[in-house]
């Protein structure tokens, strides 16, 4: 492309960061020194084909420097043949990237709803005293701290994540965190003495069931805590890769039959039958041979950013090979030879463990060419998110991988027709994929016997907030909310339950009298709720629910992509109305405000492009139906 750049130049370090990913530039057209030959040739005719490397390039810059400068944007433009305005448009979309100069060490401190129930207010207040206001420089100007939304560590609330940019970019999780531990980690980071491991998965803190039982009744969590997550041998000893072997023996059609018999529904929120999704790609396989431009893709959606959700993180940290095996079976069935894992940017340990597993699988012929000596190829690449909840929406995720702003696309066409790079694509949640190897190994019918008629199998729930033993729990679908809460030791805090948020910020509140609702797709639907991403967040009677509602509203205001009017302005007006109500300064009367909120909610639900806008009012509405909070 014929690029027009400003005079801002990249520093040597910025160039090195990009070159470490892309290799040295091939000519002055792409940012190298101008050589004689370049004046007689033009070699930049492949605009677009490199675009999908934009997000990794931005990560490389940010990880090395700590922010993205105008010169860095210019260099990224040159290297990838993308106009600088577009590079800037993409970079400015993501919450993790700073486009103004910022210290290399940044502590992200969660003040979201689960952490609010466990001392986030005190943590932030203490930090203000110790380090100064959020966003101000500390540690001699070499660090800063910021408030953050849910970091997906809610079972160990309150949580913080410290990142240190540099040649060796490092991150470290602190959960539970205290002002002292945050401050001392900041000092370590500034001194270049960050601990090597980003985090440890604690079975005791995060997977209480695995500690109690020997794993026999568990399917999804069966291996966690019973072997070394980094060891392929342990994985195989505990039944790993038997599913893939059986799938290959059954053939693609036979595998689909088992999956269909299992009645597995997607665990990412929309509850779509997994077999149907894969079948849509399977049926298009003959086109793959006819048209070399066709490709199929499998994507593992590991962007998990719904406040209160952390199950996918624990699966990836505790059983990373299972994610790969599920994806490989998906590749085998759908004819895809390439899989992407779109992994949340704030999950350093999960990324490390999954990458390690990919490397080992590649070396042992569980990934790559002719894997398991059969004539089928499958590769997996991790793409990291960069702080945008919306990129968990499948079509926004495609745009993000492709190097565009993570804005959802209108459907139709659906991903199975035109997904990633406009090719047929199957997107599945981590938990959905981890279900698959076991289903194939033991047969679909056996799986369908678990759970209820319309909600087969087991399901992971993320218990957090005022619960005695927070963590991820696996239960057969059909148990009631009350049983699940008892399994996790009952209500903590004051011991008196006020409300349960089911399904996350996009979910719904339930009152204590609804605890006997069975946890199934149909059971929750019948009371106007949803299982969503499996969040079960408890609030005791000391919590001011209005404050929780406001935090949820501000989450949506921060996270809307801003593309469509009903959502972009709707979530903004919704938060404003809530603020007026809480301040007891309604426009007109409180009843008038509540009516306005209801009208806005309906327009957002009806006219927004994607699920974010369509559900941005549901938690608020569910609370208003159950309690009179603004009387």
């Amino acid at each position: 492309m014929d690029l027009h750049l400003t005079n801002a130049q990249a520093t040597a370090e910025e160039r090195a960061a990009v070159d470490s990913l892309l290799g040295a530039p091939d000519s002055s057209w792409h940012g190298a020194q101008r050589l004689g030959a370049d004046t007689r040739s033009a070699s930049n005719g492949h605009a677009g084909s490199q675009r999908h490397r934009l997000l990794p390039v931005l990560h490389a810059l940010h990880n090395r420097i700590g922010w993205i400068s105008p010169g860095a944007i210019n260099y990224a433009s040159l290297r990838l043949d993308i106009a600088p305005a577009e590079v800037h448009g993409v970079a400015s979309f993501y919450g993790m990237f700073s486009l103004t100069e910022r210290p290399a060490v940044v502590a992200h401190v969660c003040d979201d709803i689960a952490c609010l129930t466990r001392g986030a207010d005190k943590l932030c207040a203490d930090l203000e005293k110790k380090l100064g206001a959020a966003g101000s420089p500390c540690a001699g100007g070499r660090a800063t701290w910021q408030r953050s939304q849910c970091l997906g560590l809610c079972e160990r609330a309150p949580a913080a994540l410290v990142s240190a940019a540099g040649v060796k970019h490092q991150e470290r999780v602190l959960a539970p965190a205290s002002a002292d531990s945050v401050a001392s980690l900041i000092n370590e980071a500034v001194a270049g003495r960050m601990p090597a491991a980003p985090d440890e998965l604690s079975i005791q803190l995060s997977v209480p069931q695995a500690e109690k039982q020997n794993g026999s009744a568990l399917r999804l969590l069966q291996r966690i805590g019973h072997g070394d997550a980094a060891s392929l041998a342990d994985y195989q000893r505990l039944g790993g890769y038997e599913g893939l072997r059986k799938a290959i023996a059954l053939g693609a059609e036979g595998t689909l039959r088992e999956l269909s018999a299992s009645k597995l529904l997607g665990r990412g929120g929309a509850a779509f039958p997994t077999a149907k999704k894969w079948e849509a790609l399977f049926l298009q396989r003959n086109l793959l041979q006819e048209d070399f431009r066709r490709a199929h893709y499998v994507i593992c959606n590991a962007d998990e950013s719904e406040p209160g959700t952390f199950k996918d993180r624990i699966l990836m940290e505790g059983d990373p090979f299972a994610v790969l095996e599920g994806m490989t079976i998906a590749g085998f069935v759908t004819g895809a030879t390439k899989g992407f894992i779109y992994l949340r940017g704030e999950y350093p340990l999960a990324a490390e463990r999954v990458q390690h597993a990919i490397d080992i699988a590649n070396n042992n012929n569980f990934l790559g060419k002719n894997l398991l000596s059969k004539s089928f190829d499958f590769n997996i690449e991790i793409r990291r998110g960069a702080g945008a909840y919306i990129c968990g929406e499948e079509t926004a995720l495609f745009n993000s991988i492709e190097g565009y702003r993570g804005e959802p696309r209108n459907k139709p066409p659906f991903p199975t027709q035109a997904g990633l790079f406009r090719q047929p694509t199957a997107v599945n949640n981590v938990e959905t994929l981890v279900n698959v190897p076991g289903i194939i190994r033991e047969g679909g019918a056996a799986y369908a016997k678990l759970g209820t008629e319309n909600s087969a199998g087991t399901r992971l729930f993320c218990l957090c907030g005022h619960i005695a033993r927070p963590g991820v729990y696996e239960i057969a679908m059909g148990s009631t909310l009350r049983q699940l809460i008892e399994l996790a030791g009952g209500v903590a805090g004051s011991g008196k339950l006020q409300a349960v948020l089911l399904g996350g910020a996009a979910g719904a509140f339930m009152a204590p009298k609804e605890l006997d609702t069975p946890l199934t797709f149909e059971g929750t639907r019948s009371i106007g709720a949803t299982l969503g991403s499996g969040v079960v967040m408890l609030f005791d009677d000391s919590v001011d629910l209005r404050r929780i509602l406001l935090r949820i509203a501000s989450f949506f205001r921060n996270e809307t992509c801003g593309q469509c009017v009903p959502c972009r302005v709707g979530v903004t007006r919704q938060e404003e109305a809530l603020q007026r109500l809480i301040a007891a300064k309604p426009l007109g009367s409180a009843a008038q405000e509540l009516n306005l909120i209801r009208e806005m909610a309906q327009a957002m639900r009806d006219a927004s492009i994607c699920g974010l806008g369509q559900t941005a009012a549901s938690a608020l509405e569910s609370a208003l139906q159950r309690w009179s909070l603004f009387a």
């Binding site: 944007i73 448009g89 903004t572 327009a603 009806d606």
Partner: protein, 325 residues
């Protein structure tokens, strides 16, 4: 008689043998973004749908908006334009489709057999009203007369969101002699970005930046236009529905209070500069050219011009007296 040798079919093309596999793009190499490639259909079938109880038959590939227009139904639109790829972001055109959980955008949703659609149900009216209120409460729509009409039609009352509401109000950007950008009038319809990018100009001087309510149209780091890649074709002005992008000449006259469309004359002509021969519509007030547009329905240029046709008309106005000097 043999055919003339210039007939392409007759020429023997001596092509080196294709190294097909090596040169062929691998399947994992992304295709450029754009509409989903579709095999050309030989005969377009016609599809029958029901709108507000009336049957209508339209060619396959038409949108609900097209079908509605055939019945004389007026659907409000804002981000839609015939000459651009639909982005369907404003949602002012939503209609109720039987069997669909949510409303669907008429401007981009293709007709399918047996669709049954309502364009004036309570749900439709509510969503359209709210969309208009959301826009009017955050954006200055004073130079978007169409929007005023729609607001009346749907009874929109933008003041019910209070005084302290967030808006996109900001100072107008006057950084060159040809056109100004007043983003306090921007509804973020993406049209200018499309016109500057793949739909017309392929210059990519502007893009959407930021996220959420702070999403906005910008050059990289918001540098002034003269430092950006802008080539001043003005095709963005041509598609902007709100007057956020405006000829400097029009802006100055509006500031001075002399802009008066009732006194303006429009003359269709052809650009005198080059062999492309773009159609121009010259708008003149008091004998002076005040702006230039180009008809969208032109089969070749679709309303797009270059800097010369768009802005290069000063020579017309050099008066003989001055000339003689």
């Amino acid at each position: 008689m043999s055919k003339p040798s210039t007939d392409m079919n007759q020429i023997e093309i001596n092509q080196p043998e294709m190294k097909s596999v090596v040169n062929a793009p691998q399947p994992t190499i992304p295709l450029p973004r754009g509409p989903v490639p579709q095999a050309p259909t030989r005969e377009s079938r016609s599809i029958e749908i029901k709108i507000d109880g009336h049957s209508v038959s339209v060619p396959e590939g038409s949108t609900i908006l097209d079908a509605g227009r055939q019945l004389g139904i007026e659907t409000p639109t804002l981000c839609f334009l015939e000459s651009l790829t639909p982005v369907n972001v404003c949602r002012v055109c939503v209609v109720e489709l039987e069997g669909s959980r949510t409303l669907v955008p008429a401007c981009s949703r293709k007709v399918e057999a047996n669709m049954s659609i309502k364009t004036d149900s309570e749900r439709v009216r509510l969503s359209r009203k709210l969309v208009l209120e959301f826009l009017a409460s955050s954006v200055d729509l004073s130079t978007a007369p169409k929007m005023q009409e729609y607001m009346e039609r749907y009874g929109a009352q933008p003041d019910r969101f209070g005084e302290t509401r967030a808006t996109v109000a900001q100072p107008v950007k006057v950084d060159n002699d040809l056109y100004v950008r007043d983003y306090s009038k921007c509804v973020l319809c993406y049209k200018c970005v499309e016109a500057c990018g793949v739909d017309a100009q392929n210059t990519f001087a502007i893009a959407v930046a930021g996220r959420g309510f702070s999403a906005h149209i910008a050059t990289e780091f918001d540098v002034p236009l003269p430092d950006s890649a802008c080539v001043y074709c003005g095709n963005c002005i041509g598609v902007c529905p709100t007057g956020a992008l405006m000829f400097k000449s029009e802006f100055d006259m509006r500031q001075a209070g002399t802009w008066d469309e009732s006194k303006q004359m429009q003359t269709d002509t052809i650009c005198p500069y080059c062999g492309v021969g773009c159609d121009l519509t010259v708008h003149a007030q008091d004998g002076k050219i005040v702006r230039v547009t180009s008809p969208l329905d032109h089969s070749v240029t679709h309303g797009n011009l270059c800097i010369k046709g768009r802005f290069g008309w000063q020579f017309v106005q050099i008066q003989p007296a001055e000339n003689g000097k």
